[in-house]
Structures are given as C-alpha cells and as structure tokens.
C-alpha cells in the first residue's frame, strides 16, 4: 500500500528550490533511511513528508526542539498537547496529570531516563536531551515515525538501542541519519541524496558499506570509521 507519492515536485523554502523535480514513493510498513551530507536536502524532504502526512506521523526534529526551562515530563507531554483542552494543559503545568505521568514515566524508563522526569531539560546532557526528543515523538503514538537525525548526539551502542525502540513501535519509519552500519542493518531501503538529487535508492540487501560511503566524497575516512564503530 502506498503511503505517499511525490511526482516531479520542486521542494525548497520560499523561492529557493533545494530539491528540483523530485519523484519518490513511500510504502506503508517500509523502513527508510535517508543518507547524505549536511545540506544535501534531507531536512527539506522530511519537512515535506511531515506536511503531507500531518497528524499521521510522529515527528522528531533536528536540534530536538525542546524547551530548556520545562521539566522532562512536560517536554514529553507536549507530544500530545493538541489532544487536550487549553485549561487541562494549563493545570498540567502546575500539577502533572496522574495518568499522563504514569505513562511517560514508563516510556522514559525504556529510554534510560529514569528518575529524570522532574529535571529541567536545561540541566541534561546532549545525549539525554536527544532521548527526551525521541520520547516525545514516541509519546505521540502515530503510525509513522519521521526523524531528522534523531540519533546524532548519542554513542553508537545507544543509537542501536534507541532505533530498536523506535522501530518496535512504528512499522513505518523514515529517518535521516549518518550511521551507515545502522542503515544497512535496521532498514529496508536507503535513499541517498547529494546536492538536491536522489543519487541512490535501493533495498538494503543490494547495498554495501562502500557504496554508502561514496555518498560522502568530501569526508572519507572519519565517516567510514563511524560506520565501523557503529557495527561493533
């Protein structure tokens, strides 16, 4: 079943076109990895997919989009802000709702954030914030998971665990990432972008690490190492 079809569309922000004449189809139940250097157009593509799927997709943005002053609990709660009235949300700021608290506590324990529910996000480490952002997306309970580099600031071991956590709850996911080994092991399909063009679109079983590394012509060894490290 087709989830989404892009047929020769120009994507960009304002008048600036980043991805010209793009044609792509995404299937339901498909796990897609988006690869490519920074600036290749991954974020633009994800933003368009998010716009089209709207409330069918959970969204984990690049740079987390968290509110530093609020506690972990409230940041995660924001994932379902639209499902409650303004008054309920207001009271929840002063006194957390019991059932929401329970559910979120359960969720963050799975992500290794136990005991941090009351702590302001400003006091967390980069990796912890990353997991709060993922928790918020999981809390949305949507069919599709969209992530713009949701594994950027965690170590390779954790990245694998978090990805498994995400995929256990979402049959369909479209995730931008840089870890090549993870892309090969945990996804059905890889889309490679370079300078606004789709230069690679293939099932992972036909791909090798070396072919993925070719997407990063400027970088060379460090990325390869990152890919190897991710596999250990």
């Amino acid at each position: 079943m087709s989830l989404l079809e892009l047929d020769r569309v120009d994507l960009g922000h304002g008048t600036q076109v980043v991805l010209p004449g793009l044609s792509l189809t995404f299937e339901s139940g498909e796990r897609v990895a988006l690869l490519g250097q920074s600036g290749a157009g991954k974020s633009t593509l994800l933003a368009e997919i998010r716009r089209r799927l709207d409330s069918a997709a959970a969204w984990c943005p690049q740079g987390h989009g968290l509110v530093p002053l609020l506690a972990v609990y409230h940041n995660v709660y924001m994932g379902r802000l639209e499902r409650h009235g303004a008054l309920t949300n207001l009271i929840n700021l002063l006194k957390p709702r019991r059932e929401a608290w329970k559910e979120i506590e359960h969720l963050v324990r799975e992500l290794g954030l136990e005991g941090l529910l009351r702590r302001p996000v400003a006091q967390l480490s980069g990796g912890q914030r990353q997991r709060v952002a993922i928790a918020r997306a999981l809390y949305q309970q949507r069919n599709v998971f969209l992530g713009d580099e949701p594994l950027a600031s965690v170590d390779p071991h954790q990245a694998r665990r978090l990805l498994e956590c995400i995929q256990a709850r979402h049959a369909t996911c479209i995730i931008a990432l840089h870890q090549h080994r993870l892309a090969l092991d945990h996804f059905d399909r890889v889309i490679g972008l370079r300078d606004g063009q789709v230069v690679l679109d293939a099932p992972t079983r036909e791909l090798t690490l070396a072919r993925l590394d070719a997407l990063y012509p400027d970088a060379g060894p460090p990325h390869h190492e990152a890919g190897v490290a991710a596999s250990t």
Binding site: P61, G65, V67, L70, M78, G79, L81, E82, N89, A133
Partner: protein, 498 residues
C-alpha cells in the same frame, strides 16, 4: 602602490561610527555657547565640603522614623512595578498588531513618573494611589514595549516541533513563554531597581518616601541627616539581590500592603470634572475657536523652554558618551589591579544608583540654578550607567594579544569591539535623558518642567496638561531620531535597552 587614506576616510563600520560620533560632539560644541553655564552660588567648594563631611559622618540618630520611609519607598516600588507588569503584559501581546496600542504605550512612556505624580496629585492628593499610578502607568507602557521585543525573539524550533492542531494558549504556555521567561524576569528585576529610584524621587512632590526627608535635609543644610539617608538608600540598592530574591516576592508583596497608604476618598464627581473639564482649555470646550488663539497666546514662552530642553538633552547625551568612554576601563578586569577594579565598580554603582534628579538637586544647591548642574548630573548618572554595562561586556571578551600596553588594549583590542554597543546604549539613553531633562525644570532649570510645575502650582491644569502633551510629543520625536542614529545589527542584551 596606493596612498594611505586621509583622516577618517574609509568605509569600515568603525570609521562610520567614529564620524557619526564626532559629528554629534561637534554639534554639541557649536551649540554650547547658547547654554547658560554660570556658577551662581557664592561658595560652591565650601558647600561641597560640608556635604562631603555629612556623607562621611552620617548622623543616623537624627532620623525620625526612617523605617516607615524605607518601608513606604520599597512598598511603592514593589507594587508600582507589579501593577505595571500586570498591565503591560497583555498590551505586549497586542503590541505588534495594533498601532493604537503602540501609540498609547509611546505616550504613557514619554511622560516622566514625577509628571504623572504631579497630575494624579491634583485628584488623589498625597496618597498611595498617586504614588502607585505614577509608577504603574508609565511602566505599563515600558513593559509592553520591552516584553513585546523579548517575545518577538522567542526561538521558533520548539513551536515548530509541536504536533499540528495545538490551541494558541497551550502553544504559548508550553513552547513560547518558558523560552523567554528568564529574560522577562531579568528585565522586570531591572525595572524594579528603576522603580526604587523613582519611588525615592516621589518624595520631591511631597509623598513621604525617603526622598521627602532627603530633600528637606539637604534644603535646610542638615547634611549629616542627608548623608545618613543616602547611605540607607545605597544599602537598600546594594542588598537588593538578597531581600529582593524571587522566593521572597510573595511575602514582600503581601507585607508591603500594610505600609501603603493613606488611601484617599475619591470623589467621583470631582474626578470626572477634572478629567472632562479642568484639563482642557475652556475655549476648546465651548467650541470658541478664536478664543483658543487667545488661550494659546496666554501660554508662557514655550520656544526658549523647548530649545533649552533639546540643548540640555544633547549636552547630556554627548556628556554621557564621553564619560562612558573615559570611565568604563575603571570597572573592567582588563585594566589596573583587582582592587582598583573593585573600587571603580563601587564608584560606578554609586553614581548610577543615585537618581539623576537627586544628583542634580545636590549639584544645584552647590552651583546655583543654571544648566551646569543639570548637565553634570545627566552626564554623570548616564555615563556611569553605560560605563558599567560596557565594562561588563568587556569582561566577557578574551584578548587576542593580552601583552599590549594599556593604550593598545583600549584602542585596538577592546574599543573596536565595544563601541557599536556603547553607541547603541547611548542612543537608547538619549530618550531617557530627554525625559529627565524636561523633569529637571522642577528644580528651577529653565526647561519645560519648570513651566509644568508652576502651572500645576497655580492650578492652571489646562496649561499644565497642554505642556505635558508637548513634552511627550518632543520625547517621541527624539526617540524616533535616536532610533535612526543608533548603530544597527548590534546584539543588545543589556537590561537598560528600552
């Protein structure tokens, strides 16, 4: 080979700012002969000596009920700021959407707290309502503008991350307000400090705050008592971060209620008569247009007063600029030994904490009622305030070549990085200086305040109100000019930007 460029030639941003500043200073020097800078007093140095003695040996025993005055001063400042913030916040949400709200805020801001006090005094007498309204009304306008500017800079990312369909209030409470809360709170704190100064000044119109006792002590030459009151005020300001802690805010607000007073009996009919009748020229109310001409002719000579106000404001601004340039190294870690830096900081804190009207009043007693004491007071207070902020900015910078001699560090390392910010601060202060200049007339300097004060004294409310409107219009014009003049693209995170 290209020849070296001539004096001040070139297009670098630094040179542009230097040319602009020099033009401003030159303009001030050209107009200086028009200002009345005589020293009228007979024995200024003797007077200064007696004041210094009073300050060095303060006479705390002579104070009558200082605790009451202190409590009232703090209570008025606290509640004035609080009510101002409560009124200002909703206005801030409408600020960028409604021209009407913007103009209203510009108008209430443009009139100094003391002028508002003079106005309310006529209706509410020497009461808590007069004191609170005098602070809360202009502060509502200031808060509206500054809060709106802060809210505008809210980072967008958390709001973009929200799922679609979130209602406006929830979006604001979760993804906007918490992101700017710190900045809103820190500005409100700064404004409370200003309110402390303004609350003291309310004593000058007769409300029994610290300023009331200070004024009479100075006027009657009881300098020991005046020194004691000044020390109390500095101690209050210096310890603000202890007793003004946010955890103590609620108990303070509740406690302050007991010290506010007296509460006036408001006669509704009288109030209505004042607003609908007394404030307006009678020919205007009667629809008698030729009579209005006669009424206008009956006004005191306005042009010299306006000229004096503008000139004094220009002199005050240029004086602040020069003083800030000279003083900031005193409080910076990049110059001198640590104990010198500490001394310099203390000096600047004392100078900026002293309300400029108080400073002008003291200098006036010393030098006599010309423009000289007013100029000195404006330049000293604002120059010290800007120097303090610039020094703090400088302390955050790391030097590329720390081994340069002091002059090299000043001119090559630090000033080029600090100057755009410094000039922007001076431009922001120009509006404040203008407001204060008009006010200094209350002390006898020939600016508009002099005529406003005397119109109120002779109960000619229509004239007083008209003069207030003229003052506000002038102030709004100066604000527009200084906004044009100030360097753009300067990250201004200083509390005194308003």
């Amino acid at each position: 080979m290209t020849p070296a460029p001539g004096l001040l030639r070139g297009r670098s941003p630094g040179l542009t700012l230097a040319r602009r500043s020099l033009a401003l200073i030159l303009l001030c020097l050209l107009l200086l002969p028009l200002a009345d800078l005589r020293i009228i007093a007979v024995d200024p140095w003797g007077e200064l000596w007696r004041m210094a003695v009073g300050f060095a040996w303060p006479d705390f025993m002579s104070l009558e009920s200082p605790l009451r005055a202190i409590a009232l001063t703090v209570s008025v400042a606290l509640w004035g700021t609080f009510i101002g913030a409560i009124l200002g916040f909703p206005l801030a949400l409408l600020f960028h959407r409604s021209r009407l709200v913007r103009s209203f805020c510009a108008f209430v801001r443009a009139i100094h707290e003391l002028f508002w006090a003079l106005l309310f005094l006529q209706v509410f007498g020497l009461s808590a309502v007069t004191a609170l309204a005098a602070l809360a009304i202009p502060y509502a306008g200031i808060f509206a503008k500054v809060y709106a500017e802060i809210l505008e800079l809210t980072p967008r990312a958390p709001g973009d991350a929200l799922p679609s369909g979130v209602d406006r209030l929830s979006r604001f409470l979760y993804a906007e307000l918490p992101l700017v809360w710190e900045r809103l709170a820190s500005y409100t704190r700064y404004r409370f400090e200003c309110a402390m100064r303004a609350s003291v000044l309310l004593g000058f119109v007769g409300l029994p705050t610290l300023g009331f006792y200070l004024e009479s002590a100075f006027r009657e030459g009881r300098f020991g008592e005046a020194g004691a009151l000044l020390w109390i005020f500095y101690a209050l300001v210096a310890t603000l971060h202890w007793w003004g802690h946010r955890r103590l805010l609620v108990p303070l607000l509740v406690g302050a209620l007991f010290f506010l007073g007296p509460w006036p009996d408001v006669d509704g009919e009288l109030l209505w008569r004042f607003v609908s009748h007394d404030l307006w020229p009678s020919p205007l109310l009667e629809g008698n247009l030729p009579g209005l001409g006669a009424w206008l002719a009956g006004l005191p000579e306005l042009l010299p007063a306006i000229g004096n106000t503008l000139l004094l404001a220009l002199m005050g601004t240029v004086g602040s600029l020069l003083l800030a340039l000279a003083l900031w190294p005193l409080a910076s870690r990049h110059f001198g030994r640590p104990w010198q830096g500490f001394g310099g900081r203390m000096l600047l804190v004392v100078m900026r904490s002293t309300p400029e009207l108080m400073l002008a009043f003291i200098l006036l007693l010393m030098l006599g009622p010309s423009m000289l004491p007013a100029w000195l007071a404006l330049a000293l207070h604002n120059g010290a305030l800007i120097a303090f902020l610039v020094a703090r900015h400088a302390d955050g910078l790391t030097l590329g070549m720390p081994n340069l001699p002091a002059s090299g560090r000043y001119a090559y390392e630090l000033l080029p990085r600090l100057y755009p910010n410094l000039l922007a601060l001076v431009c922001y202060r120009a509006e404040v200086i203008m407001r204060e200049t008009a006010l200094l007339g209350m002390l006898g300097v020939a600016t508009q305040g002099f005529y406003i004060d005397s119109a109120f004294q002779y109960l000619m409310f229509d004239q007083a109100f008209f003069l207030l409107l003229v003052t506000a219009a002038l102030n709004i014009a100066i604000d527009a000019i200084s906004r044009r003049f100030r360097p753009r693209e300067v990250p201004l995170d200083d509390p005194c930007s308003r």
